[in-house]
């Protein structure tokens, strides 16, 4: 069935280093969303990308949607301890209504 894959599963970085998580789908997505879940918390929406090749920035976070709308990435510049958590991508298939297919998440740990 349709899957959205995310890599890496885990990432340890030193505070100040950059971090990137990648999301790949076997089929074209109508749009993709990114969520962040802090330890013990619930997923919280970060951003949505809709257009092919779209790039959006939120302070130190840069989100990209691939030209073929099958992959996406989230890059964090100069990580801080507040960036700790699990980052999920969630893709919406064409004609899937409101349903999102979540990737497995990338757990980011930042050493101060």
């Amino acid at each position: 069935g349709q899957q959205v894959m995310q890599i890496p599963q885990y990432q340890h970085v030193q505070e100040g280093e950059d971090f990137t998580t990648y999301c790949n789908s076997s089929t074209t997505l109508s749009n993709i969303q990114w969520y962040k879940q802090r330890p013990g918390g619930h997923p919280v929406f970060l951003i949505q990308l809709v257009k092919s090749g779209e790039v959006k920035k939120q302070k130190r976070l840069t989100f990209q949607f691939g030209e073929a709308k099958k992959n996406s990435s989230l890059h964090i510049t100069a990580t801080q301890t507040t960036d700790v958590g699990t980052y999920f991508c969630a893709g919406r298939l064409n004609n899937a209504g409101n349903m999102l297919t979540f990737g497995g998440g990338t757990r980011l740990m930042v050493k101060p």
């Binding site: 619930h42 409101n98 349903m99 990737g103």
Partner: protein, 114 residues
């Protein structure tokens, strides 16, 4: 500040017991989702409703799980009988109903079945 609420936040029960989890979506949201999160399986969609009608429950084990929306302000997820493998965090999320909508997650119910 509108939020999705879930009760209970924590539930410990014994195998074979019935468990009911409740969710109050954000007022005005017509789409409700139930997810289960475990370390092994990640976030799995169990069921979702639009305007209180179930649209997809293919992710839900039918023999023991049931999901309903008795009214627009309440969604329930019931497990009967519960089993240890049902131990997980169950999240409810709501959305306004458009295909590009953000999903707003509740705080979750952490279920432990002994």
């Amino acid at each position: 500040d509108a939020r999705v609420t879930q009760t209970p936040r924590h539930k410990v029960t014994e195998m074979g017991q019935e468990v009911t989890m409740r969710c109050q979506p954000i007022l005005g949201h017509n789409t409700v989702f139930w997810y289960r999160q475990t370390m092994m399986q990640g976030l799995e969609l169990l069921a979702y409703f639009r305007n209180r009608a179930p649209l997809d429950d293919s992710g839900m084990p039918k023999d023991r799980f049931s999901a309903e929306m008795p009214d627009a302000t309440l969604a329930t997820l019931k497990i009967q009988p519960s089993e240890p493998r049902d131990s997980a965090v169950y999240f409810c999320a709501s959305a306004e109903g458009q295909s590009t909508d953000t999903q707003y997650f509740g705080p979750g119910t952490r279920l432990t079945v002994l």
